[in-house]
Amino acid sequence: MASVAASAPERRRRRFDLRKQPGFGFMAALCLLVLYAPIMVLIAYSFNETRSVSQWQGFSLDWYVKAFANKEIQEAAWNSLQIALVATVIATVCATMAALATTRTRPWRGMTTSYMVVNLPLMVPEIVTAIATLIFFALLYAALGISFGIGNLMIAHAVFCVPFAYLPIRARLEDMDRTLEQAAADLYATPWQTFRRVTLPLMMPGVTAGATLAFVVSFDDFTITLMLAGPGQTTLPIYIWTSLRRGISPEINAMSSILLVISVILVTASFLLGRRRK
């Protein structure tokens, strides 16, 4: 047995990690940098004391204060909120029911079609959806005199929010243990009771995750809202856009930062809710 003391400077043997590819870690870091740097810069400059968006002068919360006080911004925020809430409710209800019908079941006639229809909004480029919806509501008004006002926007948002609500709910349902529902039936529960006491409570995290995602997507939407929005129907992204056309200003930075933070918080919440529970 060789004595440990005798093997003098212990040669560190680098273990051959067969997974490692040189430079890939660097690329990943670069990727993250590219993705986050612009946002970070924007947020940083929203605290800039002067109007400049390229030269740092000093720390200040002025622009945030101005933004919050701005009447137009308040109105835009309220519109964004209304639309997002209504669209989320509609989309989540539709998505939950659709998920229940298309998951954990043997394929049935019409299941693939239903699945494709539900996910259709993801396949269509936003600009196409935007003008198609515009045409639709224009025709509706011209031919039948029907217009739902801001409801038009709510409906349009609901449509493209459905798939975003659907996916987390579906994921959660597929993860669920089927024997639990069998156990409930074994214990004399009717199908409705099984749904209400077992399936629904266990599904809730997925539903909440889906609803949160739908809300974010609606709140952040720009292209479709731009095409469709009429006077008095400005949302926050639209407001930022029109401000941009007038020229860059630090209020925009502040507004944008707020929106970014809201999105981050909501998406994090959705992610945590949808996480697989051990």
């Binding site: 396949m123 600009i127 944008s256």
Partner: protein, 325 residues
């Protein structure tokens, strides 16, 4: 043990029981179908009526005449499609001259989307690979990090990139201050700027499918490659990349489709000077007021998207056949 013979009474009771079972099976199946249709109904109505309906009406509109102040006149006409490729001679209304201006725009869109896809692939593949080879506990966190920007407002993100790249932006100012350049590099409002913007917007969409594919990779195959004297580069080229082909295809499609139909990015980064299809379409509903033409353009865009999707599904089914055939 089985009874040797069932008496007549028992046999009749048995067939009655089996009849009841059949009845139960049938009514249960019927009930299930009814429940399913009721459940999908709201989604189908909402998406069908307000999602597919508009697309169909758009198709209809592309065959109408433009109205004077926007909107349409209800007369059948293929003018919109004709206008895409030809323009009427100023002096002789019946003569058609081939024009390539719109084709150029379509061409540019396809080119920019394609270049964006390639760059995303080059940047995204190592990233996805890196993520997939992290310890399992870390992976979810990486996925979260990469996906997060995607869920934030596209306009704001593009604006942020705009702020950085403009003549008076951070990069130019930094380079000026460092004395590396004497005048700002005019990146903004060029095709390069648009590409950078597109790449920034859709990079996560490339990384995610790649990651999903690479995560499932059986590294014993990589082991076998090393065992057979392959170098890291060969293993990458000849084992890892081919095996992750489904992810590559999915990622490319997921980037190409929104890239080609982009609106925000070319508007902001191209400043209205460099048009992509998306801008052109939007224009018809804003200044230009030619709804049928806009509808026709949108349909042409959908056609390109459909072709790309077809390519993807055919590739996917071919993969399946190759693996299980």
């Amino acid at each position: 043990m089985t009874a040797l013979t069932l008496g007549e009474v028992e046999r009749r009771r048995l067939s009655e029981a089996e009849a009841r079972v059949d009845q139960a099976k049938r009514s249960s199946a019927a009930r299930q179908q009814r429940t399913r249709w009721t459940l999908v109904a709201p989604a189908l109505i909402v998406v069908g009526l307000f999602g597919i309906g508009p697309l169909l009406i758009m198709l209809l509109y592309s065959f109408l005449e433009p109205g004077t102040y926007g909107g349409v006149r209800w007369e059948f006409s293929t003018d919109a499609y004709v206008q895409f490729l030809f323009e009427r001679d100023l002096f002789d209304e019946t003569k058609l001259l081939f024009t390539d201006s719109y084709l150029l725009i379509v061409g540019r869109s396809i080119l920019l989307a394609f270049v964006t896809t390639i760059i995303c692939l080059i940047l995204g593949y190592p990233t996805a690979y890196f993520m997939a080879t992290r310890p399992a506990s870390q992976r979810n966190f990486w996925v979260f990090l990469i996906t997060l920007p995607f869920w934030t407002n596209l306009l704001i993100r593009t604006y942020a990139m705009f702020v950085i790249l403009r003549d008076d932006g951070i990069i130019n100012n930094a380079l000026l201050n460092m004395g590396l350049i004497s005048s700002p590099i005019p990146i903004m409002f060029t095709d390069y700027a648009i590409t950078i913007g597109l790449l920034y917007a859709f990079l996560p969409l490339m990384v995610l499918p790649l990651y999903a594919s690479l995560e499932k990779l059986d590294f014993r195959l990589v082991e076998a490659g090393f065992d057979l004297y392959a170098s890291r580069g060969s293993v990458l080229r000849r084992i890892i990349v081919p095996l992750s082909k489904p992810g590559i295809v999915a990622g490319c499609i997921l980037v190409f489709i929104p890239a080609i139909g982009a609106y925000v990015t070319p508007t902001l980064m191209g400043g209205g000077k460099q048009l992509m299809i998306g801008n052109l379409i939007a224009l018809q509903f804003q200044g230009a007021r030619n709804w049928p033409f806009g509808a026709a353009l949108a349909l042409i865009l959908m056609l390109v998207v459909l072709i790309a999707l077809l390519f993807y599904t055919r590739n996917a089914t071919r993969q399946q056949a190759a693996l299980h055939g």
